[in-house]
Symmetry: C2
Subunit: 162 residues, 2 copies
């Protein structure tokens, strides 16, 4: 049976790109709830580059597990650019990785915190700093979550290619 995640996302390219640099990655995931790390782990040999991650589905875990500041969570909310940036930095730091990826957003079917389904913030934190990309994805719950994973893998690949 083919892995439906790793087959639809350039996860193998990411594992190879990180392995060439002897670098590692970790994730802090809200709407994807582990789907990003699980997709990377689908590649045989991923253990050389994947450290682990933090699944921060509940808002308070974004603070306690990943270190997002309480003021950010109350002022900007769980679905925000600042939150994605701190998730990425927290994943990198708490999992001891060269790169951290943070994903937070609304998978649907209902809006959340005033944001429609498909609003997603992707943070990528590395040795040269943290960058956030705002995504507007379409489709059903699964498509939005898988689209977030695809954007995250592509986003880190682009950073590595600079």
């Amino acid at each position: 049976m083919t892995d439906p995640l790793t087959a639809s996302v350039p996860a193998r390219d990411l594992v190879e790109a990180l392995a060439r640099r002897s670098q590692t990655v970790a994730t802090a995931e809200s709407l994807t709830a582990g789907l990003l790390a699980a997709t990377v782990a689908g590649v045989p040999g991923a253990s050389t580059v994947l450290r682990g991650g933090l699944i921060v589905y509940a808002t308070d875990l974004k603070g306690s597990l990943a270190g997002v500041e309480a003021a950010v969570l109350t002022t900007d909310g769980p679905v925000a650019s600042t939150t994605a940036a701190q998730l990425a930095a927290g994943a990198r730091e708490r999992c001891g990785a060269d790169w951290g990826i943070g994903l937070t957003g609304v998978a649907g079917p209902d809006p959340q915190d005033g944001h429609p389904p498909g609003t997603v913030f992707l943070g990528v934190s590395g040795p040269d700093g943290t960058e956030v990309t705002a995504l507007e994805l379409t489709g059903e719950r699964w498509e939005i979550r898988l689209g977030s994973v695809r954007a995250a893998v592509s986003g880190l690949l682009e950073r590595l290619a600079r």
Copy 2:
């Protein structure tokens, strides 16, 4: 597009069973690397029962993130019944959930720490204690990882039905 994870595992049953009890769940995952939590999160409304989780792919993160004792990791190793039990208890405690699920094992294709692919330990920790089940799964990497997720969801459903 159908969610290929949630469709092949009784995740909806688990979310409903937990919601009926007003109870929550968290995971600590090694070989599945977030696939279990991601599968539960595929169910709309999962946020009422899913707290989050710890992806402990690297051995040292099993200690630092999930609280597995260093002596257990050096003596019994990362793929062991004792490790699965402490992962489950750690997920429950560190994520503030009623139930914690720990998964550790060998997804393959190569053996690891003297265990063949398909050797998996599933820990389920709840208000009445922690239990571990040893699994011997067959198939390729994806089948072993998805089989681990299926066993975990079924295992917690069985505990809830007692």
